[in-house]
Assembly symmetry: C2
């Protein structure tokens, strides 16, 4: 039985959709444990009572320090203390990051954590990291992200010997900024299945099994894809509905458009792993629906089942001496 | 009469589409001058004969040094020497950047040049810069980009008192990486109509009149929007054509889809200004069609007509003392 600690108060649609998603995910092998206020209707799921709540717009580090009994921090602590196997929150991402670093702590040898996002690319799923944990990354961090992504692709996406590429502004090794130029050299010298740089225009098409970038660029990319898909589909709908002919055509293509939207839907995965910690943490989109939460809990359980953290620890400890510029791990 | 020096050998479809576009753009007020090999059929336009050619995949700095009589470098030199008013190339962007810096030189007080790209946003045009000239930017560069973008928005997009925003990973001033945090402070302290950070999901919707970012992030964004639109429309077409009902619906919405594609078409602007130089340089997409080239020549002429370079020089010279961390301008 895999126990997933769920922050019942995290996310724009909490607690309703969170509780409903947790109930959907509950099974013979998955036991969601909800963290929230006394009296919360959990439809029979276990409730760990908490007395505080971290809002979406609070300053992460301050909030985590000031609210040790918030649903978010308490859920992280439960995992750290072995009362659950993984933690999930759709709340304040920065606070989840801060609480995870504080309670779950980094794996030995890990410089910086990374958020690994599965992309619904056309040629099949791939993973982009870092999607926002480490906004200011150094070359050796990107090398580690490559290893983290490779473990994710192998264990979660079931891709043997995943191909790793570095996101840059040209395919040639000499194209990029200082960070990507140095990271390229480290990645090329390492033992990953590194296939060079990739440009962002290929991201949604299926750029590589693993796409490595810093947390600032990764977060910008993620939100840009989301926004571009949304704006484009809305604009197409507006164009279509200006004529009767178009409206009728729109009705006929509706099933196809719906299928496409389903395929691109971030809810399909629901959650992103926060990698580099001693236990598994999963971050869900703030706007997560019941379906997204259920899928995120399942993805958390799959990560526990496949021992993603253990494999990552092993892989990184084997390679920690490789780094060209070792530095003492510090808190970001 | 505005004379535009056109690199006839630059771009994937050169010289055919370049010459055709130049002929289309020729008018009572615009005189394109083609730079290319002896014997090139220019349909009656003036030809300046050159003996060398820079290929798309050559290393920019080396190519520019080694080929002073290439069509690209010669066209830049003609502008520097006053034989033309602006230069246009759809060739190797890096080489165009290097040749422009060498021949046209930077404006006094300009730290780094920036590529200003008009975005066909839903709420109306806006300008994104830098789209790739300065991959490693510093906060004071971003402040200058803000001023460059404001001049562009006023003179070319005809937006009075344009709103400027900084691309980051959260709207709050404290969200971002080290570069955006420092740039935010400089922009907020200056006299631009600065409205804070903007997230990438708003880019295609119409984030602001001017969106400021470093050249690495800007280039990644540009290519990601391009790729996402392409992938999405292809995927939609694939979904539609799997059923007869969908196929028929697809026929009916074709005019709407075509209109949308036209609106998002980068060919509408055709060219991007390389700002921060003493004369005007315009860079066109490598894949530019005849229509894109004609529009790019017209946009170059409009920049000359509105004296974008002069206004930029004035604006930057007035504000050069403002920069929080002045540095000696150096070649990138």
């Amino acid at each position: 039985m895999i126990r997933v600690a769920v922050d019942a108060l995290g996310g724009d649609r909490a607690p309703g959709e969170i509780v409903a998603g947790a109930r959907d995910a509950a099974s013979d092998s998955i036991q969601p444990i909800l963290f929230g206020p006394r009296g919360l209707d959990t439809s029979g799921l276990e409730l760990v009572e908490t007395t505080q709540e971290i809002e979406m717009d609070e300053k992460p580090a301050d909030a985590v320090r000031a609210k040790p009994d918030s649903s978010l921090v308490a859920a992280c602590r439960a995992v750290a203390e072995g009362r659950a196997d993984a933690v999930l929150s759709a709340g304040n991402t920065g606070a989840m990051l801060a609480a995870s670093l504080l309670e779950l702590r980094r794996l030995r040898g890990v410089y910086r954590p990374a958020i690994a996002i599965p992309l619904p690319a056309r040629r099949g799923p791939s993973v982009l990291l870092d999607a926002g944990a480490t906004a200011d990354a150094r070359p050796e961090h990107l090398l580690q992200f490559g290893h983290m992504g490779a473990v994710f692709a192998q264990e979660i996406l079931q891709i043997p010997n995943p191909e790793v590429r570095l996101l840059s502004i040209g395919e040639e090794p000499e194209k990029g900024n200082q960070l990507t130029l140095e990271a390229h050299a480290l990645l090329a010298a390492g033992d990953l299945n590194f296939a060079g740089n990739v440009e962002s225009r290929e991201l949604l098409n299926g750029a590589a099994d693993v796409v490595v970038t810093d947390g600032f660029t990764g977060n910008v990319c993620l939100k840009l894809m989301e926004g571009t898909v949304k704006t484009l589909l809305e604009a197409l709908r507006d164009e279509i509905t200006t004529t009767r002919r178009g409206k009728f055509g729109g009705l006929l293509i509706r099933p196809a458009a719906r299928e496409l939207r389903r395929r691109l839907d971030p809810d399909t995965y629901g959650g992103a792993y926060l990698l580099g910690l001693r236990r598994l943490a999963v971050i869900a989109h703030g706007n997560s629906s019941r379906r997204a939460i259920a899928n995120a809990i399942r993805i958390a359980a799959r990560g526990v089942e496949h021992d993603v953290v253990g494999r990552l620890a092993q892989r990184l400890s084997e390679r920690v001496v490789e780094s060209a510029r070792p530095e003492t791990p510090t808190r970001p």
